[in-house]
């Protein structure tokens, strides 16, 4: 894959995810090639997942009538 192709894939993938309407499975169908990523880059993505999940947890807790920031550990994730 040449740099222009990589740049195009990054732009297309970023736009799709930023729009919030595409699942990764949808994106998979569009992209076939695979640049390997560094450990640091993967960890940054995982940090992004954590931040998004934290935000959604807070929203769910609000819906559930639980105190914001309360520990949602009533299920099997406890401990």
């Amino acid at each position: 894959m040449n740099p222009e192709q990589i740049a195009a894939y990054i732009q297309a993938g970023s736009l799709l995810l930023a729009a919030g309407g595409a699942l990764v499975s949808d994106v998979k169908a569009m992209f076939g090639a695979a640049p390997a990523m560094t450990e640091d880059a993967l960890n940054e993505i995982l940090a992004g997942i954590e931040a998004d999940a934290e935000r959604r947890r807070a929203l769910a807790q609000g819906d559930a009538g639980e105190a914001p920031g309360a520990s949602a550990t009533g299920g099997s994730s406890q401990g």
Binding site: S14, P35, M37, L46, E54, L59, Q61, D63, T73
Partner: protein, 156 residues
């Protein structure tokens, strides 16, 4: 913006079978996050389609909510299950960040599957409608994706 570029690079890499294990697992965890988010958004829209998407919904006023049995109490119970599932998602992402090749699969990834299953059980208590079906299907896909994460990491 940098994060979107990194995620874009990740999804652009999704088709390669020879990717490092951690990259495959991260890609699947991104998919799980998006599936969970879709299920949460669908349930909230079913409960109250006109509600502010960034604010808590304490009362289901949607016309479809009543017909599928999505009472305020069920919405609260489902939201509580989502809160637990997203807590598990945070833990799984944290554990995967610390994970190194050769380590056993993080236990937090395994519990994520169980917590999403709890949310799925609640969703199945609702009557059938396209939106309810979408919630259930999306949660099942999330469970399957977590299973794939574990498989990537050498687990069952």
């Amino acid at each position: 913006m940098k994060r979107f570029i990194l995620i874009g690079l990740l999804v652009a890499s999704a088709g390669c079978a020879s990717l490092p294990v951690k990259q495959q697992a991260t890609e699947k965890l991104v998919a799980t996050e998006r599936l969970l988010a879709t299920a949460q958004d669908t349930e909230r829209a079913l409960c109250s389609p006109t509600a502010d998407k960034s604010k808590p919904i304490t009362h289901c006023d949607g016309s479809v909510a009543a017909t599928v049995g999505l009472t305020d109490a069920r919405h609260q119970a489902t939201a509580s299950a989502f809160a637990i599932a997203f807590t598990a998602q945070v833990k799984a992402a944290t554990a995967l960040r610390a994970w190194k090749a050769g380590d056993p699969p993080p236990t937090d990834v395994a519990t994520l599957s169980a917590d999403i299953t709890a949310a799925l059980t609640l969703a199945k208590q609702l009557s059938g409608s396209p939106d309810v079906q979408k919630i259930a299907t999306t949660l099942q896909q999330a469970i399957d994706t977590v299973t794939a994460v574990l498989s990537s990491l050498g687990g069952k």
